[in-house]
Amino acid sequence: MRRPLVNRHTQQRIGFALLALAALIVVIPIILVVLVIIARGIGAINWEFLTQAPREGMKAGGIFPAIVGTLLLMAGTALAAIPVGIGGAIYLSEYARDSWLTRAIRLAIINLAGIPSVVYGLFGLGMFVLFLRLGTSIIAGSLTLAIMTIPIIISSTEEALRAVPTEFRTVNASLGGTRWQGIRNIVLPQSLPGIITGVILGLLRAAGETAPILFTVAAFFLPRLPSSLFDQTMALPYHLYVISTQVPGMPEKVQYGTALVLLALVLSLNIVATIVRSYFRRRRQW
């Protein structure tokens, strides 16, 4: 029998090194993206940039209307998507029996999550803007983003509900509790951190999307703030797209500054989600 060139321990060390490298490769681009955007964009960030409307063909001034627009769209999306998403998940996980209907709903949810976002945008245009005559408006954009977010919220909420041991529900029933009493008193409080995390992650995806708002709400240039839900608005991702590709001679600082604001918004909410999850995980009793 031939002796291997390197012994088992060396082999193992090489193996682990390769695995560590693979893990590192995942992290490096994220760190680079963040660093590059901060390095090139931080110079643009000042009080005027954050609080003023764009001027001089968007090459000067600020991005305040886009920040407000994105926050409004997130709020509208949350308002529409959270009740439907959580309600649907509670129904599917706690009430619905296994039938062709619930299987079809689950299949739809999985497939909805895989649909390209531009398709949602076209759907929003056809459904909300034209058919329901909402026009290109905050409400149409929010609803479109909500349609895209609901499957994410349903899946993560269902997962959080299923993580609560069945035995709690049985104990609740054995003490004369109705199903809803068990959900309200035990299951929902226990699964809340998972639900909140899922909701935030879903809304984050909505916040960063360009395609769904392209035809439904986003304004190319609208320096004043919207005055009603039926107004168009600027929004950060679309603004970033516009100033990166549609306006010649745009200062790089402004582009990276806009990206930095969007990134900061998304990352800070992401950190909130992480903190919520770890805080509740430490308090969990089972």
């Binding site: 029996r97 296994d98 035995e167 054995s174 003490l175 004369g176 009493q181 008193n185 035990i186 409080p189």
Partner: protein, 256 residues
């Protein structure tokens, strides 16, 4: 005959129950008398736990279940079309094999059932908490820390807490499904001790975790095998002179 005839609390009248293909219980006819401890025992898969869970309709939670025959509590059909399941479960309490305190404090655990039923009066809730914990032989160990998390208790204490939680609803019947299977011998003795105390107020049906425990606690004993009830007698009689050969084989350790 000077002894008054015992009151039938729970009656199985030709009960057959199945989920899926094979019946889990086959034509069970059985009386459980008030203020006694009745044990349902037998090997794994004999249907004893299924029979227990039928009494408070916990098997309603299983899909595709079918029941024929009648199950009576105080002569009333438990499965009558208009029966109130929540009300039934308040009359028939249940303690499970593994103690499972609900999230929250000791006090919140004990008062969970009454609060679900709409009881808000603090004085009454406090009184129920104390009485239930005394009955479950846990009061002295927890009276100074009722607002501590229930999970801080030991396994044996948690199981007595679960008993107290059921008792807080002032049920008439208490079902216990292998309540001491996860407990050490000392905790087991405590739980059994509390059962003897409870007998004067409640009708107790227990699936024991061993034949020894069955023999220790049983006033009446019903032997289950493969979904059939083989025989039911007073405990001392069944464990000394069983009528059926299969019962004798089982309790003398020839199988199971």
């Amino acid at each position: 005959m000077t002894q008054p005839s015992p009151t039938v609390k729970v009656r199985f009248d030709q009960v057959t129950y199945s989920y899926g293909a094979a019946p889990a219980l086959q034509n069970i006819t059985l009386d459980v008398y008030a203020n006694t401890i009745t044990v349902f025992f037998g090997p794994a898969g004999s249907g004893k736990t299924t029979a227990l869970r039928l009494i408070n309709r916990l098997n309603d939670l299983a899909e595709g279940a079918r029941l024929s025959g009648r199950l009576l509590l105080d002569g009333q059909d438990i499965y009558a079309r208009n029966a109130d399941v929540s009300a039934l479960r308040r009359r028939v309490g249940m303690v499970f094999a593994l103690p499972l305190p609900l999230p929250g404090t000791i006090r919140e655990n004990v008062t969970y059932g009454p609060r679900l039923a709409g009881l808000r009066d603090h004085a009454r809730l406090a009184e129920l908490t104390e009485r239930s914990l005394i009955q479950a032989a846990l009061w002295n160990e927890v009276k100074d820390r009722l607002d501590d998390p229930a999970t801080a208790l030991s396994g044996g204490q948690q199981q007595r807490l679960c008993i107290a939680r059921s008792l807080a609803l002032e049920p008439e019947v208490l079902l216990l499904d292998e309540p001491t299977s996860g407990l050490d011998p000392i905790s087991t003795a405590r739980v059994e001790e509390s059962l003897f105390q409870l007998k004067s107020h409640y009708t107790i049906i227990i699936v024991p975790h061993s034949i020894q425990q069955a023999a220790r606690v049983a006033d009446w004993a019903a032997f289950f095998l493969k979904g059939e009830m083989i025989e039911c007698q007073e405990g001392t009689a069944l464990f000394t002179t069983p009528h059926d050969q299969r019962t004798e084989d089982y309790i003398t350790g020839r199988f199971g």
